[in-house]
């Protein structure tokens, strides 16, 4: 009846197989054939690839493919408790930081937050025109009652991007000093960057409860940490060999070389990495609204879910404005570093 019967018949394994073979029809074609009382003719054209499912039709002892995914799931569930036992305390501070930042953004009145943001912009970029542009954008968002959403999104980005930099720069430095470590980490970075973002939300949902803020925090950090690590590594590796040699010839210790030569000379690259990291946090914070991240993403989600076109579009526009602000401010800082070196 099934395509690979001959294989088990000819090798004398049908006895081993038969014990558990079910006679339930498995495909639509089988069902129709059973209803019409005829057998399905298998021509050479339809001859199936010897996959697990095809072999299972002939021999019940062979596992089906869904057993594989089922096994993965069972394995993960079995590991879940011990994994949680380790990861939960480690990641708990992330929840505190995110909740703290969101709480702070909520309780601080707008007339403190907005001037503060402008002051930071002015300090980083040293440009009045940019500061005015940022001010106009935020006031505009506030005017159409998107202020609290925008500030929530910004709070999450600040916390996550800061953690990305705190973790990513040291990892990048370590990578730049050891070729072996670099070879080990690059595939991980590639994977984090190419995995569809929803894919690492799935195991995270199993590990932590959807109401915990660290759930989206981790998702954002995993996604956004990649560029700052890569560019730190690249930046330090690209530091002029002549300058390093001079540092050595004048008797610098490895620590002096790192802090006085390598990091300052790699700074333009590190800053470019930070810029990318912030932009990617912003991209992820929208997706993370699926797992209860507050902010503009929630409005976008509402627009999709209940087909409120206007709400979704305006929130999307708000995200674009935030993206432009963050990009311009970090780029201005980068340009300042570049100008002092070249």
């Amino acid at each position: 009846m099934a395509s690979y019967d001959f294989l088990f018949n000819s090798t004398g394994l049908e006895g081993w197989c038969d014990t558990e073979q079910s006679s339930a029809p498995t495909s639509m074609a089988d069902l129709m054939a059973a209803a019409q009382g005829t057998e399905v003719e298998i021509t050479a054209w339809d001859f199936p690839f010897p996959s697990l499912d095809a072999l299972n039709e002939s021999c019940g002892k062979i596992p089906e493919t869904r057993d594989l995914t089922k096994g993965l799931e069972d394995g993960f569930l079995a590991m879940k408790d011990s994994l949680r036992f380790v990861l939960d305390p480690i990641t708990e501070p992330l929840s505190w930081m995110l909740d703290g930042a969101l709480y702070l953004a909520e309780v601080t009145p707008w007339w403190i937050v907005i001037p503060l943001l402008l002051l930071i912009t002015r300090m980083i970029s040293k440009s009045w025109s940019l500061t005015i542009g940022v001010g106009a954008s935020i006031v505009g968002l506030a005017f159409i009652d998107h202020y609290s959403y925008a500030i929530q999104t910004l709070s999450i980005i600040f916390v996550c991007a800061a953690i990305c930099v705190l973790l990513g720069v040291p990892i990048g430095i370590a990578m730049s000093r050891s070729d072996r470590l670099q070879r080990a980490i690059i595939p991980v970075l590639d994977m984090l960057q190419t995995l569809p973002t929803f894919v690492y939300l799935i195991p995270l949902i199993f590990l932590f409860s959807v109401t915990e803020s660290k759930l989206y925090g981790i998702a954002i950090i995993l996604y956004a940490i990649v560029p700052v690590v890569r560019l730190t590594d690249l930046g330090i590796r690209m530091v002029d060999k002549d300058v390093l040699e001079a540092a050595q010839a004048f008797g610098m210790t490895p620590r002096q070389k790192l802090y006085q030569v390598q990091i300052p000379l790699a700074l333009p690259n590190i800053m470019a990495g930070i810029n990318q990291t912030i932009m990617m946090s912003l991209a992820m914070v929208v997706i993370a609204s699926l797992v209860s991240a507050p902010g503009l993403g929630v409005l976008v989600l509402r627009g999709i879910r209940s087909l409120e076109l206007g709400v979704g579009l305006v929130a999307g526009l708000g995200i674009v404005i935030l993206a432009i602000i963050l990009d311009r401010v970090t780029k201005a800082a980068l340009a300042r570093v570049n100008a002092s070196q070249h």
């Binding site: 010839a249 004048f250 008797g251 006085q260 000379l265």
Partner: protein, 344 residues
């Protein structure tokens, strides 16, 4: 002669995956080309023996690939030799641990680089003060010192500029000021003037000679330019394919080349401008009537100018007012033509 400041003894450097094994083949007599074809190792330096005297400028000269930059990096151990000894003031530098080595680099040797190698994120003053900063000295101590040297190399007023705002020649002046601020007795200069325009290069050479008169440092100068080498050198070492072909007083090498390679090398230079009276003069002979006086340190060019192109007669050679020898003009003219080595 006093103890040399730096001595290089039987130094070998092999580049490759297993230099020790390759060294055995070098000792068995394998040459540079054979070694590369045979097991892919490059013989960078072969049996180098050089003594550098205190207060002298030693120029190590050779074409690119001759190993001169590799050699100078052995002095402060930016490169470690495969075999041989490096003695600084009689101490074996190769026996130093990390700490002693750093100490030596901080206090005994400074270095000037071909491409300047200034820190782009620091001002000219901060760059100049690199050595004391690395040593952890106090700002109030080193700043006047750094400023003094910047002024000495002609860069007063540029303290707060950044390197990218300076021209190549100015950058190298900072490089020299940086080396001088370290107050190290030994100064390594790796093709320090090669990246500069010819006119600026001449300026810098004059600056170096001028500074050397008052500082009396032990200078190792790497160059691929024979004119520069002859101008600066007290002691000239000529390298070819990682071997010393000839070394000695530059005038002596010019008049007595030991090798066809050297003969080719020196055939193009302006001998009248390089050779000095002292190198070709003869002992004083009282009986001869002298047609005039010339100075011992004059170049032949100056003598020719002074005598108005005359090719006969004998001149009295004086040094600091004392007669020290005499020079026949026919000898002078003969010395302007490079001698072929005997048998060629």
């Amino acid at each position: 002669m006093t103890e040399p400041m730096i001595s290089i003894r039987n130094l070998y450097k092999v580049f490759g995956s297993d230099p020790k094994a390759a060294m055995k083949e070098v000792h068995a007599g394998m040459g540079k080309e054979e070694l590369r074809e045979h097991n892919g190792h490059v013989l960078g330096l072969k049996n180098i023996n050089v003594d550098l005297q205190e207060g002298e400028i030693t120029v190590i000269m050779g074409l690119s690939g001759s190993g001169k930059s590799t050699l100078v990096r052995h002095f402060n151990r930016l490169i470690d030799p495969t075999e041989g000894q490096v003695l600084v003031k009689g101490e074996d530098v190769l026996a130093y641990d990390e700490l002693q080595l750093r100490e030596m680099r901080r206090k005994t040797m400074s270095m000037v680089f071909q491409h300047f190698a200034l820190l782009p994120h620091r001002t000219v003053l901060q760059n100049t003060a690199l050595a004391p900063v690395v040593r952890g000295e106090d700002k109030s101590e080193y700043e006047p010192e750094a400023k003094k040297w910047l002024e000495r190399v002609g860069l007063a007023g540029y303290e707060d500029s950044y390197p990218h705002q300076l021209s190549g020649g100015m950058k190298q002046r900072v490089g020299i000021a940086r080396a001088l601020t370290s107050n190290a007795p030994i100064m390594l200069m790796d093709e320090a003037f090669s990246a500069l325009d010819p006119l600026i290069r001449t300026d810098m050479q004059d600056l170096l000679l001028e500074l050397q008169v008052e500082l009396n440092k032990t200078i190792v100068f790497i160059s691929h330019d024979l004119d520069e080498a002859l101008k600066l050198a007290d002691h000239l070492v000529i390298l070819k394919d990682g071997e010393v072909v000839q070394q000695g007083e530059p005038q002596h090498i010019l008049l007595n080349p030991e090798d066809d390679y050297i003969v080719d090398f020196i055939s193009d230079i302006n001998r009248a401008r390089v050779l000095r009276v002292r190198s070709i003069m003869e002992p004083l002979n009282e009986k001869i009537e002298h047609s005039g006086e010339i100075q011992r340190e004059d170049t032949l060019e100056q003598v020719i100018a002074q005598t108005g192109g005359e090719s006969s007669g004998t001149y009295l050679v004086k040094h600091e007012g004392e007669p020290v020898g005499e020079l026949q003009m026919s000898t002078l003219v003969r010395s302007l033509v490079p001698q072929k080595r005997s048998g060629h």
